[in-house]
Amino acid sequence: MIVTELTPFAEQFERLSQDPAHFPDWVQSLRQSGRDRFHQVGFPTTKWEDWRFTPVTAIAQGRFGSGPENSATSEITEWVAQASLADMACRLVFVNGRLQPGLSQLDSLPAGLTVGGLADDLEADGEIATGVLGRQANIEHSPFTALNAALFRDGAAIRLADGVEIEAPLHLIFVTSGGGDAVCSQARNVVRIGRESRLKLVETHVGAPGEAYLTNSVTEIELGEAAQLDHHKLQSDSIAGYHIATTYVSQAASSRYRNHYFAFGGALSRNEIHCYHAGEQVETVLHGLYLVSGSQLADCRTRIDHAMPNCVSHEVYKGILDDRARGVFNGKILVYPDAQKTDAKQSNQALLLSDDAVIDTKPELEIYADDVRCTHGATVGELDPKGLFYLRSRGIPESLARKMLIFAFANDVVQGLRVESLKRHLESVLLADHGLPSV
């Protein structure tokens, strides 16, 4: 273990153990084991199979502090305003991983929905976090999960009671900004959806443009029987930043989890989603779109544990890579011996806009049951020359024609969204990115 890697985080850890916010003992022991684990293994290297294409040396060498305490600067207020979406039921804003009540909007919460900061929940009686926090996010799974356990201070704590359907989405905005200092945000989120309840969640990540900060978030989600969660995540972090996020989802019988991931920012981003089927008739939908250019690296990783029979999973990831950008996609599907009648579809499509852009795709299907339907496909391509010619032969200049085809490729993922304001927002991001005229 290289001690220098730990030093900056060690300081934070020391400060945390003396934190006036009194975390219960079980949380302190989770923290300690996270710290021990991270101490033991350190940052991953490209020699690790799961990190082969994703070097984190820059993160290991960065000295990330915990950031200023009071962060409601006018810039941050502005970023929050820009990230805000219409028609949300409520909004929780976190700066450097800590809840900012002043920037949040929690008036008139729908009945049955409890929303707040994890630190507040733990300081009270841990009503939401107990039994969920640390249950799925095994510190041995990844050094970053261990690091988050050691260093989280706050995050979102969300609970929806049984039998409640809420149409308007709940918006979580995570802002990271060190005001010049290298800063890390280690948000820890806990989400519990009661039986036969439905919620839509939008998670937005933004930060100080150009800052090389680190966000390392861990989210644990538990879906009750026949519960439904539409989880959207927009990663628009600083182009120089590092974004690591791991989401663990446990699905009880007949539940449906849909995740829509959109990655635009980060010098390096790694988004992991782990879904575990704890009952039958479960549905999992994972859709993703990443747009990277320059020397950005986007690593998207999903793992679905088909542990029970009669469950369905459907996965589509699309990437658009320009310049020297790199994409990594790893989709693991594990079908347990008992999981008969599993129906798992996976597809990964990448559009390479430059000769230097690279994508490493690895579908990993491990199937131990015999009566299953599992398909996967990966395509890597360039823009369709026939389509390009067709558009140009109608007078559309080549540059615009290319943009239209890129937009079309990406828009497909956006059109599937069920949150109108988010759909419009993403359309305008895609249009702006590609300088297309609006219709």
Binding site: F389, R392, G395, N411, P437
Partner: protein
């Protein structure tokens, strides 16, 4: 308006066009017929600027300009339009967006102001009605999932919206049912005008009963081997291309 002189074109190492000569004046409709694989679509694509074909000799003048010097989009903006034998599907781009982008691109090329949305929608509505197309098709992706006939109608719709100076219709009649053929032919006829030229590629006299050509040419083996007036089409319909084998002109 169009003058093709001794045009030779090849794809990789196969020579496909072997010295085409053709002159189209404004107001004229020329029909091109000829056996499968004789180079009719290749000629249309070379006019439109398809880069898969290399022009090895000859020249093409379009309204006095050297067509071969123009990019694909410049040719279209200058008023050249090819209705595809096999229209391309473009998933994710709606017909409406595509048409408006095309109109505005051409307007920009000529330094004209962009079309007003209301004006665009009116024009679209009128043309859809003429071609018996449902407006819901405009919200769908370009040609995606369209039937063969719907694709052909969509080509003519684009022509009606863009109002080109020279239209090259490559087998627009194939895949159309009898009623659709009439509707599409009427759409084409409505665009016949003294300041517009047309080249109609077809295998069948039936289309030429509706769109009556001023000239008929036979393209065979990469050359125009016969030209005549509309009676030539009747002759071909009756006798086929057997004459090609006996006449030295075809070799």
């Amino acid at each position: 308006m169009l003058e093709i002189k001794n045009l030779h074109a090849r794809s990789e190492d196969t020579e496909i066009l072997k010295g085409i000569n053709l002159r189209v004046q404004t107001g004229e409709v020329h029909a091109i017929m000829g056996p499968n694989g004789s180079g009719k679509s290749t000629l249309a694509h070379v006019l439109a600027g398809r880069e898969d074909y290399e022009v090895t000799a000859g020249e093409i003048l379009f309204n006095g300009k050297d067509l071969l010097e123009l990019s694909i989009e410049e040719r279209a903006a200058e008023g050249l339009f090819m209705a595809y034998q096999y229209p391309v599907e473009i998933p994710g781009v709606s017909n409406k967006y595509f048409l408006k982008a095309a109109i505005n691109s051409i307007r920009k090329h000529h330094g004209q102001p962009l079309i007003k949305t209301s004006e665009f929608l009116e024009l679209l509505k009128a043309n859809l009605a003429k071609l018996g197309m449902d407006k819901s098709m405009m919200e769908r992706s370009v040609n995606e999932g369209f039937s063969g006939g719907e694709k052909k109608r969509n080509e003519i719709l684009q022509m009606a919206m863009l109002r080109p100076r020279l239209a090259v219709l490559d087998e627009t009649d194939s895949g159309l049912d009898i009623d659709a053929l009439k509707i599409v032919a009427e759409g084409v006829n409505a665009l016949r005008s003294p300041d517009r030229g047309m080249i109609v590629v077809t295998h069948y006299q039936r289309l030429l009963d509706y769109i009556v050509p001023d000239f008929v040419h036979v393209l065979a083996g990469g050359k125009i081997v016969r030209s005549g007036d509309r009676t030539l089409a009747h002759e071909l319909e009756a006798q086929g291309y057997a004459f090609l084998e006996t006449e030295p002109a075809s070799v």
